[in-house]
Symmetry: C2
Subunit: 444 residues, 2 copies
């Protein structure tokens, strides 16, 4: 077989890059668990009928069939399976399927690959990892969970920044009730039609949006102007409330939305100062979000688009009798890591877990090296034994090439190969410096 | 939508079961890393041409197509993708693709889901997790790596036994060179034909195997008898060597095989006494293994078949100029966990990560509860805040239902809800008992 070529859109990591990914995923999981979110995993395949419920996305689905079934033309469309394209659809299915065994409000995180048959480009992959958190209630879900998920995610992303040097983020939040109440207070019935056009503000500019609102929707110039004024409000704190109030519109939904959004922003500022803004033009698609909406930019990588998005659903799932409202956010882990690894912004301190290489004098004495290694491992020190009884210079080079910091000799001495310092040591006592015990991530 | 039903063959875990799976996977990864094995992940999809190379397995492959491509009849067979059915084929491809960026011998572990379109039954799933370790060399790979991978896996499985109560294992090992050398020493050319028939010993019994050897292969009764004598040898230590020698056959390959197998068994006995036997009838398929072969039974669950298998390949991969010999083992994690979780052999101590629930007096003072929770989390204590300011009895029941051991009250007291003991505590100082900090696994 000749050398295989990578598949476009299916990024894979070399061992040192994978170490960075492992540490990033472990850090995210740790923050989620500190906040009491438990892990679940769902199967990769869902019935096509389930995946196709959101009409717009079906072009991106990968259909899956057993090779034998296909050859025999068996299997009806109802049996067809597809790879999940996000973690929300399978989570909603999991909640419905297991509702009798779950305690609500149910708080879960989920870190898995998803697949989309999109055209690959920077920040868009066909296979990529997402890290989602959601809180889902039975029939009701209090608004303070909208605050909570923002706080957890900001804390998780801030920790990636401080611990690993991932660039800082800016989370933009808005609230659908706020916009709906404002439009209704202006006497507009079809609030989604307005939202849909205002959502184009960044792309086509205020004049074109105004033309759409007055032309397509027949709004007066004054009403269209008010809609644009609302959309241009943004603030790094709850001062946006007074600015909205000063526009003079009143509606119960507007009050509710303002309260909810202010609570999210205040808590976000407290959790991670400077990382959150209220931005009243954010819409995040039109279909399913019904309250808070979130999107997030990575500083210096704004061209990637949002690396973490989500919102509130009044009905994440429903079985007809019970509805399951939810709120959550999804971090695009692969979307963040691939560019940062490619640019060398993040690097691992070594490419193997090993902290120590035990040198081997001769194949006859390999067993003695094994014993030393076992004694180090018994105290939690990742250790490998040299694969060949080469001359020591070559064995040191073996360690150096992988970034293994210490080489242990049968003389009972250990050498820090970075400094050259070599000291007598007892495998039942010796400890490496804490920062050398496991590989770390260096941000640049 | 009505309540969805599970898909047969695609097991999913409830939150408490998932905690067991997380702890088992983390334990395996930790043992692998202690021995210097680094993690990689490969994409879930491979070109069909790659997956179909082993002819016999193609019936089990899931073919994957973009829905749009399918509708337009586009895409040639050469572009076709399938879900990987093991982690060996993708690893071999990864090694070839990245050989210029890897340091050899390359030691990796890989924990991922794989997919097979088989008929589901106990121990056979359509989606399941495997945990593989392999060592792969460039052109050569020393025999001590056959010893090493057995030792690492035995240590990993023994740790699941002692830490979590997973039943103990019995690893059966054999060596293809040993058998080939023995058959050649008997004057048999087509050693694979003999092996193929001897492999049926457990299924059809010695008389039927003897009939196949004499009938189909035309061996003399005496030669067939010798082949059967070899196959019935098994021993919990290297005493099998003398028993083989006593059969009076000599051949260089036999010597090599005996040495290699004795080294594996001796090291296995040292690493995990009583968990390994030399069993000279083990074959593990015929195609690719060329030296040591391993299979493993779980005590009390022998009907599941082998839960951990592998062997030595002289050529795991080759690009025509360079070949990559390898040796490795694959643990069927899902195959082990699904029956143990179903039987209640393994249970988690709670169903959420939270160690503490901070009670809320009223929605007006929720922020104070948030502050207490943040102070506990700052010291690594997983904490959640009660979702509703219910009466305390109800908040305690919320904790109890999830197995959260401690409830914190605004009075500055913390209650162990298992004992009812309630004591004053400072959120900047209080520590839970170490065993309560995170959920654990209880074996029965």
């Amino acid at each position: 077989m000749s050398r295989p070529k990578p598949l476009s859109g299916f990024p894979e990591f070399l061992p040192a890059q994978r170490i960075v990914e492992q540490l990033v995923l472990a850090s995210l999981a740790q923050t989620f668990e500190l906040h009491g979110f438990g892990s679940i995993e769902t199967r990769a395949l869902e019935p096509m009928a389930q995946l196709a419920r959101k009409g717009e996305i079906d072009k991106e689905i990968y259909v899956v069939r057993r090779l034998q079934a296909e050859r025999h033309g068996a299997g009806s469309a109802a049996d067809e399976l597809g790879l999940h394209f996000d973690l929300t659809v399978p989570f909603a299915r999991y909640v419905l399927e297991n509702s009798g065994h779950l305690n609500f409000p149910f708080r879960r995180y989920q870190i898995q690959k998803v697949w989309r048959g999109e055209r690959p480009q920077e920040g868009r992959y066909r296979e990529f990892a997402q890290a989602d958190i959601d809180v889902v209630g039975q029939d009701t879900l209090a608004a303070h969970h909208d605050v909570e998920v923002a706080r957890v995610i900001l804390e998780a992303l801030e920790r990636l920044h401080t611990d690993f040097g991932v660039p800082p983020v800016l989370m933009r939040v808005n609230n659908r009730r706020l916009a709906e109440g404002f439009y209704r207070g202006l006497g507009i019935d079809d609030h989604l039609a307005v939202l849909q056009r205002v959502d184009k503000l960044d792309k086509i500019g205020p004049d074109a949006v105004r033309a759409l609102l007055t032309g397509e929707l027949g709004l007066s110039d004054e009403v269209a102007g008010r809609c644009l004024e609302l959309a241009t409000i943004s603030a790094p704190d709850s001062s946006f409330v007074d600015r909205v109030r000063s526009l003079g519109i009143t509606h119960p939904l507007l009050d509710e939305g303002l309260d909810q959004l202010a609570a999210v922003v205040d808590a976000g500022v407290a959790a991670a100062p400077g990382r959150i803004v209220a931005d009243l033009k954010i819409a995040r698609g039109l279909d399913y979000y019904t309250g808070t909406v979130y999107e997030t930019e990575l500083a210096g990588f704004e061209h990637l688009g949002s690396i973490c998005s989500g919102g509130r659903y009044d009905s994440l799932a429903s079985d007809g009798r019970t509805s399951y409202p939810g709120v959550g956010l999804s971090i695009g882990v692969t979307r963040i890591l691939v560019p940062l690894l490619a640019k060398g912004t993040l690097t691992a301190s070594r490419e193997v877990p090993s902290c120590v290489l035990v040198a081997v004098d001769s194949e006859e004495t390999r067993r003695e090296a094994d014993v030393v290694a076992a004694r180090l491992r018994a105290r939690g020190i990742p250790t490998e034994v040299a694969p060949r009884a080469d001359r020591f210079g070559k064995q040191i080079r073996y360690a150096d090439r992988r970034g293994i910091p210490f080489v242990w000799f049968s003389s009972g001495e250990v050498k820090d190969i970075r400094t050259g310092e070599q000291v007598p040591a007892d495998p039942d006592v010796w400890e490496p410096p804490a920062e050398d015990l496991r590989p770390g991530v260096q941000g640049s």
